[in-house]
């Protein structure tokens, strides 16, 4: 029987993240979800890249590997394809996941690689001092948009859905029970599963945009979202600027890449 402490590597704590950082809350939920699933430690691999969230690899009691910035999903793809028995988590910030690694996000979803991707989406590059990323909303003040951001961030869930992922969900770091449930669903889902977790960066994004205490920031982020069931009854005007939360995609019409590849190879061998 493993506990969350075994999975998160409790003895290596404290972690590097700032006071009130959403990354820690996501890590906490992952530990709880893993405890519920009781996966053998040696069969779990956590892959990360660069940035604050990527530092997660320094703690867990499961296998971890830190790839270079943006190459989280391509590394996870290699791992998942070389040993389909592994449970592979790709933990990415919005830089790794949607910006420098955006192309890999499209293709991991398109191939339907059996990887559970968790996006710790805090709207900026925290590690380098709070510059804007591919998900930073228009108008945001960041270290590189002092007068308000001219670009607009994009909805990563819509992208991943369009590319063909089997499972897509979004929640916030406030909604930890929903997040745990989503992690379990995503892990158990064959094929590519993606969870966008909207989280606070109190040190940079939250501070520069005057969002208050970490707790207040978590609530403000939640206020910017609408549960998918409720959204169905709302007008486009009411939904403007809101991100949908909940389970957005849950498809069963396509097997994961490793299974399809194995079938093809078997046929090629005439077996």
């Amino acid at each position: 029987m493993y506990t969350w402490k075994d999975y998160v590597g409790y003895d290596r704590l404290p972690h590097i993240w700032c006071s009130g950082c959403g990354n820690g809350i996501i890590f906490n939920a992952l530990g709880q979800a893993l405890e519920k699933m009781q996966l053998p430690l040696e069969k779990v691999v956590i892959v990360s890249g660069s940035g604050c969230f990527a530092k997660i690899v320094n703690y867990p009691g499961v296998n971890t590997v830190k790839m270079l910035h943006g190459r989280v999903l391509s590394g996870a793809t290699g791992i998942a394809m070389a040993n389909p028995e592994l449970t592979v988590f790709a933990l990415m910030g919005d830089g790794d996941g949607t910006t420098i690694g955006g192309n890999h996000l499209i293709h991991a979803a398109r191939r339907n690689i059996n990887v559970t991707a968790i996006l710790g989406n805090n709207y900026n590059y925290g590690m380098t001092g709070g510059q804007y990323s591919g998900t930073t909303p228009e108008g945001s003040i960041t270290a590189t948009s002092r007068y308000g951001l001219v670009e607009d961030g994009f909805d990563a869930c819509k992208l991943v859905e369009a590319a063909g992922a089997s499972y897509v969900a979004r929640t916030t770091a406030y909604d930890v029970l929903e997040l745990q449930k989503m992690i379990i669903e995503a892990t158990e889902k064959p094929g590519f599963a993606f969870i966008d977790v909207l989280a606070a960066c109190p040190t940079h994004y939250g501070r520069l945009n005057k969002m208050g205490t970490p707790a207040e920031q978590m609530l403000k982020i939640k206020e910017g979202t609408v549960p998918v069931a409720k959204a169905a009854k709302m007008s486009p005007e009411e939904l403007k600027g809101k991100l949908l939360t909940g389970k957005l995609v849950d498809r069963n019409d396509r097997e994961d890449y490793a299974v399809l590849y194995a079938k093809m190879a078997k046929e090629a061998r005439g077996e």
Partner: protein
Amino acid sequence: MSDKVMFMQGNEAIVRGAIAAGANFYAGYPITPSSEIAEKASELLPLCGGVYMQMEDELSSMTAVEGSTLAGARSFTATSGLGFSMMQEHIGHAVMCEVPCVIVDVQRGGPATGLATKPAQGDVMQARWGTNSDHSIITLAPASVEECYELAIKAFHLAYRFRTPVIILSDASVAHMVENVRLRTPKPEELPASRDPQCDPSEYLPHRFDPDHPATLAAFGSKYIYHMVSSTHDETGLAKTTPDVSDRLVHYLWDKIENHAEEIAYTKEYEMEDAEIVLISFGCSARSARGAMEKLRAQGVKAGVLQLQTIWPFPVKAVQKALAQAKLAVVPELNLGQLYSEVQRYNVEGRKVISVTKVRGELITPDEIIKAIEEVK
């Protein structure tokens, strides 16, 4: 099993050599003149239980090669000059994390898009120094189809012996040349080292900073759980960024290859016993050199060829031995003197060395080499 002789391209021979060495994973992005490697890998790997992944670019190809290796596969990829530039990103990661893998760079004319279908040898220094910061790396260069097969086997062996990425520096000429190749089964000692650390899992460390004995790399999913962090790290694989840890790590990454340069130095000598004019070359230009040597010998000139199959670490002893007997040394290559500058670096006795270069996307002809020799006589 008796060896089979087949008539094939250099690119195909690399795939067959890799598979003979146990390769079971390929991740790549097609690029001329390497694409036949991807095609042949996609054809052969599924037949032997392996996996071919066509990635979205060279950045992801190199990462998938590393990821698959960590998960237990023996992996390789192939590309050409500008794709090789993109792979340099994660080649550095593989150096730092000591992830064994094989990268084939089939050189073509450059810079940038350059001459996509024409041979060149302009990536000598990119192979050595393409990724950031101090490190060492192994680079092998085949000059024939048979050497493509043989060096692919050696590349996998060295990658696991030294826990490092190994580069095969081919070129458009060798890649597309068709020759007979003996498809032999490698002896057990020629195959890559085991992935079983044979210790108690609680004692396993993914790194050992002993330049003579790098740690065995376990596979994710085995009973050995480990961490692999590309930041400066200690034996545990976890980030530790103190000055002493950094100093030890960088020196170790350097020493584990450079201290074994002689073990890695594969060279071939042709008519070198009494040679006074020594042609030092590699890859397709080594063939040009042999052509020149034959013509010179026919004229009674004592010419010989030292072919470097290992480019990096530079085979210093073999080159210095050749220089010591040379009245004149000639370095023909399809670039502006990248190998020549390295030969000169070790020319401590100040022998006369000339550089024969060509960047026209054409091979150097034996006559061009002979003409260059005559000009300095």
